[in-house]
C-alpha cells in the first residue's frame, strides 16, 4: 500500500544495519568453514570468531577469554542462572533477583525453585528501582547468585548495577545482569561496575537475531548449559553461528563507538514524545523519569486498553507495544507494571514506544498527530470513560 511505517519498537528488535549485514554475508557462501576444522578455510572462520570476540570484549571492558557466544539473550540468561546455581549447589541454594526481570530470568528462577533452590524476588519502588539496602538485607550465608536486570525492557528504568554488584561482592556472591536492553544505550564496564556475568543479544543493537553472548568473569564457577563439542573453551557446545557472530561483533562495535552522541539524538526525540503524549488527559509516565533508557517511552492511558490502542496505531503504520495482557498470551497484565504499583486497569492501558535509529524527528510529530485521535475514539467506546465523565466530568 506504500503506507508510511513508523517503527517505534526497538526494544522488541532492531533492523540489521547494512554495514553489519555486509560483513556477515561472505560467511554464508564463501568463508563458510567450520571453525573447528584444520584447513585454512576453517582457520579463516576461527579467526573471524576470535575477532568478533575481541570486539565484544572491548565493548564491555572485558578480556576476550571471558566472552562466550550463545544463541541469544534467553540462552545467556538461562546459562547464567542455571549454570551458576548447579555449579555452586554445595555452597548454598539461595538466589536473589528482582520482580521486574525479563521472563528469560524469571522463568529459569521459577524452574530452579522446582529443583530445590530458594529465590528471593526483590521489590522495586514506583519508578522501578531496586534498592541496594533491600539487596543487602536479603543476602544470606547460602546465597550463591544475585541477578538484577541492567535496564528494564518495558519501563526503561536503569538499575544501580554498580552499587548492587558491590554489595554482592562484599558478601563474595557473584553478580549477574541481563544487559540485553542496555548494550549500546549505557556505557558498560564489567570491572568498574562489579559485574561477574552479563547477558547480551545482537538483535537489540542492530545486529542479527539468534546470536548473543554471555560475559563470564574469570574465576566464576559455572556449569555448561549446552553439553557436546568442545567449542567456546569447552563451555558452550555447538558449531558456531559464524555469520551471526561476525554480525554481533560488527554491531556491538558500531553501537558502542559513540553512545553519548547517539543518545543525545534519541533522547531528544524521546523527551519530546513523552511530553507530547502526557498532554493527553489521564495519562502517566511509567518508569524512572531520569534513570531511563534513551529510547524508552512507556505511558499508561486511562480508560482504554493497550491492544486496541496498538492495533489502531498499526492502522496508521505506527509499530509499538503494550504491557496489556491481550498481547502477551495471558490475561494478566505485565508483571513489571504491577510491580511498580499500577492497578490492573491502568496496566492494561499501557503503551510502549521505543525509539532508535529507525526514527527521525518527524516520526515523533506523526505519532503525536495520530495518537490523540486514537485515544479519543477508544475512550468514546469505553464504559469506564463514560462512568468517569458521569461522576467527575
Amino acid at each position: 500500500m506504500g503506507q508510511r511505517i513508523v517503527y517505534m519498537d526497538h526494544a522488541a528488535t532492531t533492523f540489521t544495519k547494512p554495514e553489519v549485514l555486509a560483513e556477515m554475508l561472505p560467511y554464508f557462501t564463501v568463508r563458510f568453514g567450520n571453525p573447528s576444522s584444520v584447513y585454512s578455510l576453517a582457520r579463516e572462520s576461527k579467526q573471524a570468531v576470535e575477532e568478533a570476540r575481541g570486539r565484544v570484549a572491548k565493548a564491555l571492558w572485558a578480556t576476550p577469554e571471558e566472552c562466550y557466544f550463545t544463541a541469544g539473550g534467553s540462552e545467556s540468561d538461562n546459562w547464567a542462572l542455571k549454570g551458576v546455581a548447579f555449579a555452586n549447589r554445595k555452597k548454598g541454594n539461595h538466589i536473589i533477583t528482582s520482580k521486574i526481570e525479563h521472563h528469560a530470568v524469571l522463568h529459569p528462577c521459577q524452574w530452579l525453585e522446582k529443583q530445590g533452590f530458594e529465590i528471593t524476588y526483590l521489590p522495586v519502588d514506583r519508578d522501578g528501582l531496586v534498592s541496594p539496602a533491600d539487596l543487602e538485607a536479603a543476602i544470606r550465608k547460602d546465597t550463591i547468585l544475585v541477578s538484577v536486570i541492567y535496564a528494564n525492557n518495558e519501563i526503561g528504568t536503569i538499575e544501580p548495577v554498580a552499587e548492587l554488584g558491590a554489595i554482592a561482592h562484599e558478601h563474595h556472591v557473584p553478580f549477574h545482569t541481563d544487559a540485553v536492553q542496555a548494550v549500546g544505550n549505557v556505557p558498560i564496564d564489567v570491572r568498574g561496575q562489579n559485574i561477574d556475568l552479563l547477558s547480551l543479544s545482537a538483535h537489540k543493537f542492530y545486529g542479527p537475531k539468534g546470536v548473543g553472548a554471555l560475559y563470564i568473569r574469570r574465576g566464576t564457577r559455572i556449569d555448561p548449559l549446552i553439553h557436546g563439542g568442545g567449542q567456546e573453551q569447552k563451555r558452550r557446545a555447538g558449531t558456531e553461528n559464524l555469520a551471526g557472530i561476525v554480525g554481533l561483533g560488527k554491531a556491538i562495535e558500531m553501537a558502542t563507538a559513540d553512545i553519548e552522541g547517539h543518545n543525545r539524538r534519541i533522547q531528544a526525540m524521546r523527551d519530546r514524545l513523552i511530553k507530547g503524549i502526557l498532554a493527553i488527559p489521564h495519562s502517566r509516565l511509567n518508569g524512572h523519569p531520569g534513570k531511563r533508557l534513551p529510547g524508552n517511552v512507556n505511558i499508561s492511558i486511562e480508560f482504554i486498553e493497550g491492544e486496541s490502542m496498538l492495533l489502531s496505531l498499526d492502522g496508521y503504520g505506527v509499530c509499538g507495544s503494550t504491557g496489556s495482557a491481550c498481547t502477551s498470551g495471558s490475561l494478566e497484565p505485565s508483571h513489571v507494571l504491577l510491580a511498580i504499583g499500577l492497578t490492573h486497569e491502568i496496566a492494561h492501558g499501557s503503551l510502549r514506544l521505543t525509539l532508535g535509529d529507525a526514527n527521525r524527528e518527524e516520526d515523533v510529530d506523526y505519532v503525536l498527530q495520530v495518537l490523540p485521535g486514537v485515544v479519543d475514539r477508544l475512550r468514546a467506546m469505553s464504559p469506564l470513560y463514560a462512568d468517569y465523565k458521569r461522576t467527575c466530568g
Binding site: C326, G329, P383
Partner: protein, 151 residues
Amino acid sequence: MYTEKVMEHFRNPRNMGEIPDADGIGEVGNPVCGDIMKIFLRIRENRIEDIRFQTFGCAAAIATSSMVTELAKGKTLEEAWAITNRDVADSLEGLPPIKMHCSLLAEEGIHKAINDYRKRQGLPLWEEKASHAHEHGEEPECEPPAGTGQQ
C-alpha cells in the same frame, strides 16, 4: 492474528454508544482482566428495537460487541437469547483461541441485558449459563491460557 472481519468491526464498530433511557442494561467483564462490555437495549413488543454497546477491551472485545449487537438487532427476545458465543465468533469468521472468551462476554452481555429488562418488567428471569467469563465485582480470575513469549 485477526480475520479481516474482526478488523473491519474493530475499525468501524456498529451500534456503538449508549441508549439514554434503556429498557435493559447488561454489564459483564472486569477491568482487572482488561475487558468490560456494557449492552443497552430498547425493547418494543418483545423485540430489540435498538441495541448499543460500550466496551473497554482489546480489538476482539470491541469486534465481538459490535457483532453481537448486529446479530441481535430486530430479533425477538427469545431469538436474541439463543445467540451463542459460537455464533458471534463464526460471524466474525473466527477468533484466535485465546480471544474466544471475548465472544463469551458478548453472549453473557446480551443475556444480562435481557434479564435486566425482564426484571424491570416483573417477568421471571431466564436461566443464565454459569458465567464462563468473569463477573464484574467478584474476585476475578483472569485465567492465563498457555503463554506465548514476549520481548
